[in-house]
Subunit: 289 residues, 2 copies
Amino acid sequence: MASHRFDPNFTDNVINAMGPKTNPRFRQLMTGLIKHVHDFARENELTVEEWMAAVQFMNWAGQMSDNKRNEGQLVCDVIGLESLVDEITFTLAEEAQDIPTATAILGPFFRADTPFRENGTNIVRTPAKGGVMAFMHGRVVDFVTKKPLVGATVEVWQASTNGLYEQQDPEQEEFNLRGKFKTDNDGRYSLYCLRPTPYPVPDDGPAGKLLHLMDRHPFRPAHIHIIALCNGYKALTTQIFDRNDPYLTNDSVFAVKDSLVVDFVPRKDDPQAGLELNYDVKLVPSDEA
Amino acid sequence: MASHRFDPNFTDNVINAMGPKTNPRFRQLMTGLIKHVHDFARENELTVEEWMAAVQFMNWAGQMSDNKRNEGQLVCDVIGLESLVDEITFTLAEEAQDIPTATAILGPFFRADTPFRENGTNIVRTPAKGGVMAFMHGRVVDFVTKKPLVGATVEVWQASTNGLYEQQDPEQEEFNLRGKFKTDNDGRYSLYCLRPTPYPVPDDGPAGKLLHLMDRHPFRPAHIHIIALCNGYKALTTQIFDRNDPYLTNDSVFAVKDSLVVDFVPRKDDPQAGLELNYDVKLVPSDEA
């Protein structure tokens, strides 16, 4: 029963227009989406001008997107949707007794073509003004048995101290601050990187406009992106956050989880880095394993 | 109170991130939008893959949009949103005792630069295969006093018999099947046009993909678009539909209203047209008048 004063059959008519060949999951999603979008429009008595502004906004996001930038994703991120979908995924995995390292969003700056590097490599290929070097190392282990996983892949990426990832910044060498590492016979990976610094998400497009209209700052707390992969284990996408960061409690894309906050500690007798981060990654066996 | 098993504070955190300088109406809309989008994601346990497919879909719509095509608008149209917003607008006008000619959606094929033509002009500038000519005429009147309005503008546009508007079809002369007309001293306008024919909305992009996935046809019932304007009166955007059309009850963009269905009747002794449509437009005085 409709609890509003508009045409009580309108939404059902739109939903019922779906034909019998619609995929059941797609039908479920479209039914939910149409209901929520229509309820939103009715509850707020959305005007033609407001709706058209939203259409132009979304078209703008698409027009700004290309291989190097996904503005539609960023718009979702600033309203928390990517982090929420991640939390749903993680909660369902928990309920299925898969309690791996907590996940976090992929974000729009992942590159599928990042090269492998030797363990111990410095991923800082272009000097970063004011950057502080850190030695990041740890093991990839089986979540259940705690045994180290040999030949697992750990992929990391981070922004430079100017707040830009390499594909956003012509001054940075290609694949600067990115690398894939294979774990050795003890399941260990290691690299030199920057202590991450907070940065604003790109705010020269629709997502930035939205943040401005919502009177919000665009900053993300300092973090390093990680993807870990190993045959027979579920892929893990996450981010780790520096405990000292001032934006830890108000991430512009709502991705921080307590279990992903890490401590950089002083490192002695290493001319390459004054800080150290020891971070172990726990992977869950896949269903097929 | 959250009625789900996910983080109960997540959505409030996103909403409460809005700062004090947010425009109140914008805050209301974003609060509603964030709640509905988050509820949709939780209720359907949206996966990362499904969410990313939706992001790519919306980016695709933006990338396909330009001066001649608004695919984002068309995506809204096929889930009924433009027609719903129109119905909300019309219902609010009714409640305010403004009961003009029923409104209908603008659609994505309006052109702001359509030229004026003399009354009685034939807007069929490029021959239309299988087209049936009609003489369309009527008056623009004050909704309250019923008096004719002199010097009002009636703008019409329609698709050709191949289902294409002129800006979609390089074979059609520019501004074919479009025109603006000024009412004469009796408030009358007139033109020769085609009896409209049903056509599919463009289904070579995201909106067409969506229709296909929902197992729906892309057809719109035969219609003529109308915008009527007069100083001191509220602008009217509407469409009129041919009663004989087979798609009248299942318009792919849900725009049909009973009061907008019209009858083409035989016309005698006119070598230019065998059909006639008499259609009066009623305009409501604007608040300032």
